[in-house]
């Protein structure tokens, strides 16, 4: 009976009894969800363009953040370092297209996937060679990002809003919206969808596959840099940061690998869901449950929509 109360009643009693804390949990879920959406978007863009899950997205986050901090430590002013880091991610996009993808046109998807695994390990080694393995601090204030917090009185308690979290939500929101609009409304966006449908058919109507690949890998690089800055500001910049990208997996399962709106909605569902479950139900299972609970949410959605929330329904005609 106690167990039933703990599962079905107590969490809601807690939510009603401490509304300020519940709002704090919702805010944390919203911030986390927005950042998950940003990470997931990096995967979705590349998947749409090449039909491949980019295993290297996580290390791209680390590589971009380390480039930024490394340049700053070398004496480059923060904003110039940011621009140069974008340039490095652009160079990486061109290099990946020239040295890897161009040679794998029309190869099975699994070959492209394996290539991104190889790329991932190359970037880990190359990054450690260039930047060393030492932990670095993100140049948050140097980039003009806000620090500190605002405390708001609410329902007899307090809700704390970190300024960097507010900035993260705004920046992620702008990036996600811009990229979503760019890839849905622009000519390049239409070309991207054509490439996603069929490489050879897209080539036959004059779409430059190579150009599209460079653009999406560069866009994924921008997303990686933004993710690296935001997450680096919350923790630090080290090679452990690449694990953060794996948090996007349940978002992708839920939202679908090909849907930009899916990445956004999926990110928010996972963000809210894991925080609420961890805080109000996690204690019943010993805590530390959010990592796997995100997958439970995703799997529940999969039962009803195997293609994901917004994924395209796959129809194979024989």
């Amino acid at each position: 009976m106690d167990l039933l109360y703990d599962i079905f009643a107590d969490p809601f009693v807690q939510m009603a009894g401490m509304p300020d804390f519940f709002v704090q949990v919702l805010w944390e879920g919203f911030v986390t969800g927005t950042l998950y959406a940003l990470i997931a978007l990096g995967f979705v863009l590349i998947f749409k363009a090449s039909g491949v899950f980019n295993f290297a997205q996580g290390i791209m986050v680390v590589f971009a953040a380390l480039t930024l901090v490394g340049l700053y430590q070398a004496g480059v002013p923060a904003l110039l370092a940011l621009v140069l880091s974008l340039g490095v991610m652009g160079t990486l996009a061109v290099s990946v297209e020239r040295l890897v993808l161009r040679h794998l046109v029309n190869q099975p998807d699994i070959i492209l996937f394996m290539a991104t695994i190889g790329l991932s390990y190359f970037l880990i080694g190359f990054g450690e060679f260039i930047f060393g393995g030492e932990t670095k601090s993100m140049i948050t204030s140097e980039l003009g990002l806000p620090t500190g917090s605002s405390v708001v009185d609410f329902a007899g308690g307090i809700v704390i809003f970190q300024h960097i979290d507010i900035a993260a939500v705004v920046i992620a929101g702008i990036l996600v919206t811009s990229l979503a609009l760019f890839f849905s409304k622009s000519r390049i966006g239409r070309a991207l969808r054509a490439v996603a449908d069929d490489h050879q058919a897209a080539l036959s109507v004059g779409i430059s596959l190579n150009q599209i690949w460079v653009i999406v890998w560069f866009a994924a690089g921008i997303v990686a840099l933004a993710t690296g800055i935001m997450w680096g500001a919350r923790s630090d910049v080290s090679f452990a940061l690449q694990i953060v990208a794996l948090k996007a997996l349940p978002v992708l399962i839920l939202g679908g690998f090909t849907s930009v709106p899916g990445a956004i909605v999926g990110g928010l569902i996972i963000g809210f869901g894991e925080k609420i479950f961890e805080v109000y139900w996690g204690g019943l299972l010993g805590g530390g449950v959010e990592g796997w609970f995100a997958y439970v949410i995703a799997l529940i959605f999969l039962l009803f929509r195997p293609q994901g929330l917004f994924g395209e329904k796959i129809i194979e005609r024989i």
């Binding site: 944390e28 450690e128 030492e134 405390v151 970190q162 923790s235 630090d236 090679f239 805080v279 990592g291």
Partner: protein, 433 residues
Amino acid sequence: MFKKVTTGAVALAIVSTLQIAPVSAQETLYVPLLTYRTGPFAGGGIPIANGSADYYAMLNERDGGIGGLKIVTEECETSYNSQKGVECYEATKGNGALVYNPYSTGITLQLIPKAPVDEIPVLSMGYGLSAVAVGEKFPWTFNYPASYWDQMSSIISFIDTQDGGIKGKKVGFIYLDVGYGKEPIPLLESLSESMGFEVVKFPVAGKEMQTQSSHWLNVRKENPDWMIMWGWGAMNPTAIKEAAKIKYPMDHFIGNWWSGADVDLKPAGEAGKGYRSANMAASGTHFQALQDVIKYVVEPGNSQADPDTVGSVLYNRGLYNSVVVAEAIRTAQEIAGHANITGAEMRAGLEALDLTAERLAELGLADFTAPIKATCENHGSGGSIFMQQWDGSKWVRTSDLIAPMTDLVRAELEAAADQYVSDKPNWKTQSCN
């Protein structure tokens, strides 16, 4: 014919050289260094590796080694991965290894059963399995200056001296959810019963190290009076930032000695002000031994360390490890009566180690750390720790030495040691009578 003779002579010369090499190796003191300069925990592994290697290099340059023999070190990269650690062990043990310092609880657990078989001792200095402090049950493994259980008991002792004592208080324990983080839980639960405080646990999975907002929401909900952290790597700065974010009182947040490095607090900076951690060795370069390291190794450009990191918490931790190994080698040489010692003789040296305050002063390390005295029964020493506190930009030592609750801890350690060997019928123990 001439060509064949010449080729044969060259081949013979090469083979001879190969045969000479092991003889040459036997006339040195070979200390393999299992390090991790890459991977997610490299931020901590690099300064430890540098401090460790630089002290041996300094002894070679300044003193010509130990007992007239040069120390040969060989780094093997483990990436803090247990499987790679074992591979490193297997690859280097045949070269005359005197001792292994795994620098990972996971690797230590793998090497404990191998040590008596290969007769190469393991020194897991302040980490690894706490129960190896019981020398009768673990003749080949050492964990002085103190085990995790000693350390936890010292932290609890410290808390008990603050704010009217620990009785009736709630203590939160946030830990990396691996063998290392779980290691002190049995003692913490035992102390909570005997001292009358409540424990709330917050496990952090490896992949959640940098996404701890849920954990700290739970901390806010539970509102513990004190928080203790057993973290490592990226978990530490994230936890400290999250604690500051929920406005947890930082002076009531205490890390163990793996959660109190410069790299852990620098990302938080001013926000981490007041955070405390345990430590076993002082930081800074004002010690004569550190000055010698700078003079003989760092300044000539023979160190891999960034000069700014020399004297940092983890650099000095690595250096301290090498000081202990070097003193154990010296002790082993005295016992054996010769300089060219074996792993078995090194074990005797580790067991007879008596690093007194006077000896520390002779080494140029006065007040660097608490003395260590090992015995046949006690491989953990039960050494004292001290508290340091982050002032917003650097660590400041803020307490005298805090002794562990030896009586309580020893009984728990013996029970755990008995439990470990109970299902191993061929386990080699030793009698200390």
